[in-house]
């Protein structure tokens, strides 16, 4: 996983609440057995005017000029500013894969759906929760000021505005550590192999029926 320590980037505002993972990456693209290449279909139904198909070359497809990411000023975006309950719905990790593949490193919103939030951390993508008011202010700034940038400092847990204001955010220490160092979570867990084995033996003695073979 890519580490994330300090990230400065251009911000794009996606001004709608309850953006679901079907919207982030529609189902026809989930048929891929790969982990990469989803960026071209990120927000497919909002972004293009035609119906997208899996394995399609997207370079000639008609773009929806009204969609925020199609506007030239957001071309090199890496921070997405969103509204409440971002990432609700399906558990598809293809959603953070698509965001990451497109070039996003951070998503800022007043709230996230649980599974999406969790999936982001496995993919070097940092979801940041700020208050409704702070998010409102960032929307206003982002919409008026072309080239609006933010700096995200994960170590210090702050988002720094161009004016130097620091907006602090919460994050679990474990997730922070993994993201700062780009750690392999499975490798970390397997360092506890003996503890897991011991638990499993005890668990099996207590609940032997949980370990029977399925036909």
């Amino acid at each position: 996983m890519k580490a994330l320590t300090v990230h400065q980037g251009l911000v794009a505002p996606l001004d709608r609440a309850n953006v679901d993972t079907d919207m982030i990456i529609p189902k026809q693209f989930l048929k891929s057995i790969k982990r990469t290449g989803f960026g071209k279909n990120l927000f497919d139904e909002l972004r293009y005017l035609d119906v997208g198909e899996a394995d399609q070359d997207c370079s000639g497809r008609p773009l929806n000029p009204d969609f925020v990411l199609n506007q030239p000023r957001y071309k090199d975006v890496s921070i997405l500013l969103a509204r409440q309950n971002f990432g609700c719905g399906s558990s598809r990790e293809h959603a953070p894969w698509a965001l990451e593949d497109y070039g996003f490193r951070c998503v800022i919103a007043p709230s996230f759906a649980d599974i999406f939030y969790n999936n982001c951390f496995k993919n070097g993508l940092l979801p940041i929760v700020l208050s409704e008011q702070q998010v409102d202010d960032l929307f206003a700034a982002c919409q008026t000021e072309e080239g609006f940038n933010l700096t995200v400092d994960l170590e210090r847990q702050v988002v720094v505005t161009p004016g130097g204001d620091e907006l602090s955010f919460e994050i679990d220490p474990f997730r922070k550590e993994c993201l700062l160092k780009g750690l392999d979570e499975i490798g970390l867990t397997l360092q506890e192999e003996d503890t897991i084995r011991a638990f499993e033996n005890k668990h099996q003695k207590k609940f032997p029926w949980l370990f029977q073979e399925l036909a």
Binding site: I33, S91, L210, L214
Partner: protein
């Protein structure tokens, strides 16, 4: 010490280790797999040179991509017309072979939607932790199991270590007290709950569904409710174990045998919240006040009783919500103030992990029996949740009732719930659907989904419009 909630008990019984940083390792008893969210996880294992920790904890079945027409099904995986879908189903097959994982493959009568198959096989048992790379894993909480959806990285993590890195959720209880009215079902309860608390109302929580109305429900009904906990934002839905739970499990292939059965039943009887347990949030609904529900918008919280009208965004004080309503009405092609009963339907879908079990099919068949699908309906399909549900329905003659009424009787799979296979809506088409999500494009590009119960979907099929199903039910019903 205060009493513990059901969720607390399940958490405690699976806690391998609490770490200093606040995270925890949780042991996973059952891991369900399907073709969409597993290929990258298996690939990850291969790249890292890892083996699954405990093979017999895993059970796989293809469901999202499988075709539901007999023609396409007869030739097995080779017969899947869409080459990308075919590769995905084949990949699950190959991975299960390579790693020795039990799979109910296409052609096996036990194949079906993973959340129907698990309980049906007794692969889901009370007191288990159950995970799957699918958000509707909450379904299994109906058995007093701690069950939730995970992403693909976590699928790989569970395969490799039999554990998840977890953080304890908050406890929320939704109590539905009293008797449900005639024609009102579990689906109406859960839609009403989502309407009440919103799609983010349960975020960060495990929701325990309780109250006399829940106690009266069958396991099928409880599964329908827990299934949609995620649509209220909660990864976990739960119902306490009682005799209904235990009667359902008895005799299932995976049920404990001999002395284990008695030990298990004793333990299962402890799987309820203590009377003095403290919940972080509690919501109480009056069952008698719940009416058949219909969603009118593009989020499950955009729901109303069938007798109501589409809301007016100008009457909504909150700007973000008003904006959401406006967007939804535009997408759905509806006008503010329009009666829900005036919405003309193009298609009907009865199926999905929410409503494709035998009781759901009986409920729908009872409504269409002796009636005909309205001429304006282009297609009405019934997709049983598994091969065994299909078999049972056919033994009861339900297939004939559907076919005589003009509905199509299909092969098991996820089908039009998310339209990864060929079953989908055309642009602008309205669908009465027993599935769980009415998001934009969910059932096909530009498709317009209305979530309803199986009885309400059946009523819509025979009238062509939404109608209060109670108007079609005889006095004896």
């Amino acid at each position: 010490m205060a009493g513990r909630t059901l969720y607390d008990k399940l958490w405690d019984d699976h806690l391998v280790k609490s770490r200093d940083d606040g995270s925890a390792l949780l042991y996973i008893d059952r891991h369900l797999l399907h073709e969409v969210t597993s290929p990258q996880a298996f690939e990850g294992l291969r790249i890292a040179g890892r083996q699954p920790w405990r093979i017999n904890a895993n059970l796989a079945t293809p469901d999202h991509n499988v075709p539901t027409t007999l023609n396409e099904r007869n030739a097995g995986i080779e017969g899947i017309v869409d080459p990308v879908s075919r590769i995905q189903v084949q990949t699950l097959d190959d991975n299960c072979d390579e790693f020795g994982i039990t799979q109910y493959a296409m052609g096996d009568v036990r194949q079906g939607i993973v959340h129907v198959v698990g309980p049906e096989q007794g692969a889901t048992l009370p007191g288990m932790t159950v995970v799957c790379g699918d958000s509707h894993t909450a379904t299994h909480g109906a058995f007093g199991a701690l069950a939730h959806g995970i992403g693909t990285s976590e699928v790989e993590h569970v395969l490799a270590s039999q554990c998840l890195v977890a953080k304890k959720m908050k406890n929320m209880r939704v109590r539905v007290e009293g008797k449900l009215g005639r024609g009102v079902t579990a689906k109406d309860i859960v839609l009403a709950v989502i309407g009440e608390i919103g799609t983010a109302g349960g975020t960060g929580c495990a929701i325990e569904f309780a109250g006399t109305a829940l106690e009266d429900l069958s396991m099928e009904g409880r599964m329908t409710i827990c299934n949609m906990a995620i649509e209220a934002g909660a990864r976990v839905g739960l119902v306490a174990v009682d005799n209904t739970t235990i009667d359902y499990i008895r005799g299932k292939p995976g049920a404990p045998k001999g002395a284990d059965w008695d030990a298990a039943v004793n333990y299962w009887h402890t799987l309820h919240s203590d009377v003095d347990a403290v919940f972080d949030h509690e919501v109480i609904l009056d069952a008698a006040a719940i009416e058949p529900q219909v969603t009118w918008g593009t989020s499950p919280e955009m729901v109303a009783p069938v007798g109501a009208s589409v809301p007016d965004p100008d009457q909504e004080a909150d700007a973000t919500r008003a904006d959401g309503i406006r967007r939804a009405l535009q997408y759905m092609g509806l006008s503010a103030g329009q009666a829900l009963t005036s919405i003309q339907l193009d298609r009907v879908f009865i199926g999905s992990c929410t409503n494709s079990r035998i009781e759901d099919l009986r409920e729908a068949a009872a409504v269409v029996k002796g009636r005909k699908v309205a001429e304006t309906i282009k297609e009405a399909i019934v997709v049983p949740g598994s091969g065994l549900v299909k078999q049972q329905a056919e033994a009861e003659g339900l297939d004939k009732i559907f076919i005589e009424a003009g509905l199509q009787w299909r092969e098991p799979g996820c089908s039009m719930c998310l339209a990864m296979n060929a079953d989908r809506l055309g642009e602008g088409e309205h669908c009465a659907s027993t599935s769980n999500r009415n998001f934009e494009g969910r059932q096909g590009f530009g498709g317009r989904t209305h979530l309803v119960s199986p009885a309400m979907a059946a009523a819509a099929a025979v009238t062509g419009y939404f109608v209060d199903v109670r108007e079609l039910m005889g006095d004896a019903a």
